[in-house]
Symmetry: C2
Subunit: 194 residues, 2 copies
DNA sequence: CCTAATGATTGCTTATTGCAACCGGTTAAT
DNA sequence: ATTAACCGGTTGCAATAAGCAATCATTAGG
């Protein structure tokens, strides 16, 4: 990748590529940015992946970043068209849809891990918001694989490994987050009292 | 990361965070997307990182994706303000500027590696455009570290390791790309000749 | 019956992107 | 000396995208 180079020949290929496929270029970086490189698509996938949000209203009302409904609808449509997300009827309500990550979507886990690691190192995040990034980074590819297996169970109906017991990766990340919160809350209490 | 959860307490924190810092939320994923999650910033960094483009005109005219000059100027300004890129005078011309990646920018290498790996697996890239993604993915963190060291030499004036000889990582990726091109060109020739 | 839930859609305003021409100054070529 | 190329942008305008808040018809629960 990048990847795309600067030779005359590639300029020619670029023209043909754009005509044939509608893409700015055939570079994997560029193609990925075209698919998920807007301000909202990765947020939607994140909420599905880590927050277990699978319904429109959930994604809309529990969005920390306050996504607008037209943007959410548009992004879900695009992600579904791209094959990163799938949509099915939910049996609990005639109008209710359940959105699921596909294998293509699940394999964004390493991308999220690296984005999170970079962000938590270089941007003004708080401890409780960076703990999960740290754990994913420390866990490395074995932890990502385990997380992806968990997601295949939850989102694609893959049979869980019968040898696997205990909380899944998302739950463990959540527990670590809550532990930091609890520590901060008790620290805050002693500040107030002390 | 992701991280950001859905508790009442976090809703409160979110409000304070937004007031204090101007961010949608303090989640590392969201913060990273706010910084580099538009359609063009990662392309600019990619061209600096992998194409060794360091000047405005180079970035403008050798952009495979045909970036517009106002967008390029804006993105360079933003990346510089964010500390991902630095700008200095180039001694070869009074008006000429040279843009360099900072440590913060260089440490985006793993993000690019993962984005490239995902894109080359799931999106319609060609073989020659995905070979470098494959190599970076296969090389893993040791290869990324080596690449980052190379970038620190090229962009930050770090002294090269005297024990290191031979082509740097970017050159090796480029050579692999050219080898695929050469193979395709000879394959094409035999097609033409029958 | 009324209220809540459902996944959107809509009308409008604001912001961003993209195109292509342009700018004043500096350096190189003729 | 004149002309051409280089330099990093800036500009005016049209097209597109994002954001806000209200709205919609249908479905389910009390």
């Amino acid at each position: 990748m990048a990847y795309c180079n600067w030779f005359f020949l590639e300029k020619t290929l670029n023209t043909k590529n754009e005509v044939a496929t509608g893409h700015r270029s055939g570079c994997p970086i560029n193609l990925t940015v075209e698919v998920v490189g807007d301000k909202w698509s990765l947020i939607v996938v994140r909420d599905m992946m880590f927050g277990n949000k699978r319904h429109f209203r959930d994604l809309l009302t529990h969005s920390q970043e306050k996504i607008a409904s037209n943007i959410l609808a548009d992004r879900l449509r695009r992600l579904t068209a791209e094959g990163i997300v799938s949509k099915a009827d939910d049996p609990s309500h005639k109008q209710k849809a359940i959105y699921s990550l596909t294998e293509k979507g699940i394999e964004l886990v390493p991308v999220f891990a690296m984005i999170g690691a970079w962000g938590s190192k270089w941007l003004p995040v708080s401890e409780e918001l960076s703990i999960r990034a740290r754990l994913l980074e420390e866990g490395g590819p074995p932890l990502w694989e385990e997380f992806m297996d968990d997601l295949r169970v939850a989102h694609m109906g893959v049979m869980p490994d019968p040898k696997k017991t205990g909380p899944d990766v998302r739950e463990r990340l959540q527990a670590a987050y809550e532990a930091v919160l609890a520590r901060q809350a008790s620290g805050r209490a002693s500040e107030v009292t002390g």
